[in-house]
Amino acid sequence: MRGIIHLNNPYGDDKAIESCSIFGMMDTTGRRFGGRDVIRAIANMHDRSNGLGGGFAVYGIYPQYASYYAFHLMYLTVEARWDVEEYLKQNFNLIWAEEVPTQKTSGIVDPPLVWRYFLEVGNLRSEGQSEDDYVANRVMEIDTKLEGAFVFSSGKDMGVFKGVGYPEDIAHFFCLDSYEGYLWTAHGRFPTNTPGWWGGAHPFNILDWTVIHNGEISSYGINRRYLEQFGYQCTFETDSEVVAYAVDLLMRRHELPIEIVARIMAPPFWDQIERMSRAEQDLCRTLRQVYGSLLLNGPFTVIIAHQGEMIGLTDRIRLRPLTVGVKNSMLYLSSEESSIRLVCPDLDKAWIPMGGEPIVGRLKISEECPGVVMPQEVEVS
């Protein structure tokens, strides 16, 4: 660990004060905006990360290719690219391929090759299999069977950009100020138990689901084994990866709403359950019986996103921070309120949600469907 301390603390004292930083902002009207504010906000929490991982997820980014799956791939070797491109041509209709634009950035050392592909699912999928299932299986196949290649983004009209470095340097490296989206999440990493490498940076992704995480999933082993039964292979060597696959399983495949998913990942304690109404007790007990292996143990704050929705959630005793800000149609989630205030000093509301209580931003489609789902009456301050 000496190396890490030298990397992150130039002042020569022996402290490593960091933790991860997470930030998300969403315009619930669907208006697309550039990366400037999200980059400033995550850079403001520079001291929470240590240069061993930074990343972003952007939704609404590829309107010209919105109906195609956008794959972002990292290659450790040129040969890996040839293998993967051969594989993609065999398994998809390849609409477009290009190298992801990058620029030389001090602080970004020895990056992999990064390419993106816009893909259409042809007639190769089996009877009854959904396009999403077909694509998720192909992602797992590339990650586990092809040497030196990782799919780090695989959804439609969204993209993940990540690597080893501070988040603001990663943003510069990937020229993120030239993209627009209606929902951005950002992460600065301070790896605790697992290596700092390009694939291990956040966000973690499958299809259009992304997760950024601050904390430690100590139930990783149980969660991982459970997810393997459903075809998910954990290949990114870090605990946070299981959260992305868990939300894909629960929210996409099992079609559960986040209010239920929150009770699976951060369930109420047994004595709280005993004080609930009979119907609620039955629900909570059933969830703990059926999905007990997806309980996330240990401290966490996550921001989960997919097309049209951004969700903030902490563990039930809130061992990691989350602050919420709202200004008109904009929802902000952050490890620290100061980063929200930096880009929006005059918030309508700012508050700190209770542990285990999801904060949800949804695209506002009508008056009946409000953009930000308030958990309860909140104090304005």
Partner: protein, 254 residues
């Protein structure tokens, strides 16, 4: 960037873009140069503001100070015209912190002395492991409500929760209040159920000594935030005390 000196030992610092190490250097320098009043503007997340300052001085903060505001502080009075983040008052020894908005988690963490007044709500674990020794008794006064684990492992000092933003009949939402508490006292205005309390605390009615404590500290709270102290004191208060001074004294004794 340097602190601008004005007349009568007043200093003003524009914190825009300043790293916390530089900002705290400027504060130390200003205090060494005889500052009586320091105004910090455009503060966005700089940590440890006021740390290791060890005499009385007024520090006013416009913006959102970062984590561990006033940690290890010994004497200054910090006023925040906004919200505070996590770890405010960490291990502070003396002085006051006055927050006009809300505060985040672990407010007054391990405080050994001084007073913290928060107008709004506070996050998880406010007052965790506050302690006292002889005349050093830290005080937290919270105008709103608190989240879980209020006064966790509290070893001394005084924690007052006023619940001024609760509606008629509304209970405080915090659970695990006073879990592991083994010293000090919590005064609570507003209602809680027994299940919201930790196993280590008991409930008592307030006595004359408590009333004089409350008069004094609620009076001070009210003076900072323009409340009517008498109105607040009309509410019903209960007192939470630790049932044992060493709840786990026998845990490892076979």
């Amino acid at each position: 960037m340097a602190a601008n000196r004005r007349q009568d030992s007043q200093f003003k610092v524009d914190a825009t873009g300043l790293h916390y190490r530089r900002l705290n250097q400027l504060l130390r320098q200003a205090v060494a140069d005889g500052a009586e009043r320091i105004e910090l503007q455009n503060v966005y997340g700089q940590r440890y503001i006021g740390t290791d300052l060890d005499r009385e001085v007024e520090i006013e903060i416009q913006g959102t100070p970062g984590n561990d505001l006033g940690s290890f502080m010994n004497g200054p009075r910090i006023t925040v015209y906004g919200n505070a983040q996590d770890g405010c008052g960490n291990t502070m020894n003396d002085g006051q912190i006055i927050i006009h908005g809300h505060a985040g988690d672990i407010l007054g963490f391990s405080a050994r002395g001084g007073k913290i007044f928060v107008r709004g709500d506070v996050g998880y674990r406010a007052g965790i492991h506050m302690k006292e020794y002889q005349d050093k008794k830290p005080v937290l006064v919270i105008g709103g409500t608190a989240q879980d684990f209020l006064g966790e492992y509290m070893a001394g000092g005084m924690l007052i929760l006023l619940g001024l933003n609760l509606r008629e009949g509304e209970y405080h939402r915090a659970s695990f209040i006073g879990t592991g508490m083994h010293g000090g006292v919590i005064y609570l205005r507003g209602s809680v159920d027994q299940f919201q309390l930790g196993r280590e605390v008991g409930v008592a009615e307030i006595d004359e000594v408590d009333c004089s404590n409350l008069d004094r500290l609620v009076g001070e709270f009210a003076s900072y935030f323009s409340y009517n102290a008498a109105e607040i004191l009309k509410g019903r208060f209960i007192k939470l005390l630790p049932l044992w001074l060493r709840p786990y004294g026998n845990l490892y004794v076979y």
